[in-house]
């Protein structure tokens, strides 16, 4: 269990984290979301013992981060923002160093290293200087370092930043595949990532927690949740289709997007299933439809609404 209680972190007059309380249990993958400068990285830096809190407390599996720093730190695997590593070292030397600092003897260090090297597919670059590696490999070296002691708590600051789509997929698979008893916190501003790997999404803005729920609950808060979108194959009839849909009962509003060649129909309050009505209408009016689906909700819209500072 990681318990963050009334955490505040100020830098001079700037309040980076403001009264943040949060607890994360084993088996949870918490997506930490927020615009740049919202306090995500600062919170992670405090939780990992790099920065001291101005006030409030953090305990990691029962260890207070301020009084039992080393005990807490030995349970955490941490990938700092930008995945810093010692440029003049090779991944082999670097990973061995991290393993030795974490208290493994020479033999065990080798075993530990072999495991994460395989996990992160680093075999090809093991003896190349880190400064010569691509951004993707550097990130994977950083992840390997965080995983080397098979930590019970994994804190990853923007783990997929700078990776290509294949590598992103690989990292997400890895996070999903971590055993069930781990506590994982990842920060990201890629919303699809939250839906893909997280069991829980916490949104912070200006240092405050503004939302804490599951990704699907987040989607449900969207005004698009339950709306039905109809994709057409040409834009010519789009306005006529829009007018037709507007006349249906149970339709509160429609939104026409010419770019996407789509009409989105919003249900009136209390109406659950609009899909049938829209499908029937399309059939009756003999429309050529490229696609028709019920929206789950749009996270980016919720994210903007929650973090833009307006009324929620």
């Amino acid at each position: 269990m990681i318990e963050i209680a009334h955490l505040c972190k100020r830098f001079g007059s700037l309040t980076a984290v403001d009264e943040l309380s949060l607890s994360v249990g084993p088996g949870e993958v918490l997506g930490f979301l927020g615009p740049n400068g919202a306090g995500k990285s600062t919170t992670m830096k405090v939780v990992t013992g790099y920065l001291r809190p101005t006030s409030g407390s953090v305990t990691v599996l029962g260890h207070d981060i301020e009084t039992e720093t080393l005990q807490a730190q030995s349970l955490i695997g941490y990938l700092p923002e930008g995945a810093p590593s010692y440029d003049e070292m090779t991944p082999r030397g670097f990973l061995e160093f991290v393993a030795r600092v974490r208290g493994y003897d020479a033999r065990t260090s080798q075993d530990r290293m072999a495991r994460v090297v395989g996990l992160m597919s680093l075999e090809a670059v093991l003896d190349q200087r880190i400064e010569t590696l691509s951004k993707g490999f550097k990130r994977r070296v950083g992840l390997a370092q965080a995983l080397i002691h098979d930590p019970r708590v994994l804190i990853l600051d923007e783990p997929t930043d700078g990776l290509d789509p294949n590598q992103k997929h690989q990292v997400r698979e890895l996070i999903r595949g971590l055993s069930r008893d781990k506590i994982v916190i990842i920060s990201t501003h890629i919303l699809e990532e939250v839906a893909a790997v997280c069991t829980r999404a916490a949104i912070i803005a200006e240092g405050r927690l503004v939302s804490d729920c599951t990704p699907s609950e987040l989607e449900r808060q969207s005004r698009y949740h339950g709306a039905v979108t109809l994709r057409l194959s040409s834009t010519e009839i789009i306005d006529r289709v829009g007018d037709g849909l507007r006349t249906l009962t149970d339709v509160a509003e429609i939104e026409i997007s010419s770019d996407l060649m789509a009409v989105t129909v919003f249900p009136s309050a209390g109406v659950d299933d609009l899909l049938h009505a829209v499908t029937d209408h399309a059939r009756e009016s003999n429309l050529t439809v490229a696609g028709i689906y019920r929206e789950k909700g749009r996270m980016d819209e919720v994210f903007r609404r929650l973090t833009a500072g307006g009324a929620p």
Binding site: Y86, F97, R100, G103
Partner: protein, 244 residues
């Protein structure tokens, strides 16, 4: 103990995986040699000792040691690796001490590389090797004191240049602490007792004794306590910078 050793090993190896170590040792050997032979009148003195060699060390260290120490923390701050290092289960005091010991070992290696001079002296005459050994020990201790100041300055900033300039300036004050240049600056606003304290902090005074072969416990303690004091300040700075 293990984390400290691991950091120490990494640091020491990092000197030799960049050109820094080789450039430093080369420049140190060339300058030490040139100063000894040209300005120290090594041959003309016709004495089988290494006094001319050691007498230039405070001045060599004045700018060479800050060049070693400037990167110790500044580079970690600049590249962000400090966040990695300080979130590994290694205490901050251990990290500061490990880095210092690695740098001190490195200057020891550079100093040991001057052994051909010792061989030469022994070939040409019959020097008192005890005096020479004392000289080496004193020189290494003094290098440690310079390094501790440098580590402290490096912890203050993320700019290696700033760290270098601050360290060189601080070291100069300590080298010259016994001279009127420094003492006069303090005379204007402080009493005689304080002047005496400052004068007693002079690296030169304490080093001269050792380099002549007089292993005075006071001088040894002076350098050791200087190292401890500056490292304590460095530990304090590393702690405070993270809790601002």
């Amino acid at each position: 103990m293990i984390p400290l050793q691991a950091v120490y090993r990494r640091e020491l190896m990092s000197y030799f995986s960049t050109p820094l170590a080789y450039v430093f040792i080369f420049v140190f050997l060339v300058l030490a040699g040139a100063l000894t032979f040209y300005f120290g009148n090594f041959f003309e003195r016709e004495q089988a000792d290494m006094a001319p060699f050691f007498s230039f060390h405070p001045w060599l260290y004045l700018f060479l040691v800050p060049a070693v120490s400037m990167r110790i923390w500044a580079e970690e701050r600049k590249s962000g690796t400090i966040e990695l290092l300080l979130t590994l289960p290694v205490s901050r005091p251990a990290a500061v001490v490990a880095k210092f010991l690695a740098a001190w070992t490195f200057t020891g290696i550079a100093l040991a590389a001057t052994f051909p001079l010792w061989v030469t002296v022994n070939y040409l005459g019959e020097p008192d090797n005890g005096v020479i050994l004392a000289g080496y020990l004193g020189s290494w201790l003094m290098a440690g004191a310079f390094l501790a100041i440098g580590v402290c300055m490096s912890a203050l900033t993320s700019s290696q240049v700033v760290a270098f300039v601050l360290s060189a300036a601080a070291c100069l004050v300590f080298v010259l602490a016994g001279y009127s240049l420094v003492l006069d600056a303090f005379k204007a606003w402080t009493g005689q007792t304080f002047i005496d304290v400052i004068a007693s902090l002079s690296f030169l005074t304490h080093f001269n004794g050792i380099s002549r072969g007089v292993l005075d416990l006071g001088d040894l303690l002076f350098f050791v306590s200087t190292i401890v004091a500056w490292l304590s300040i460095a530990i304090f700075i590393v702690e405070i910078k993270q809790s601002r």
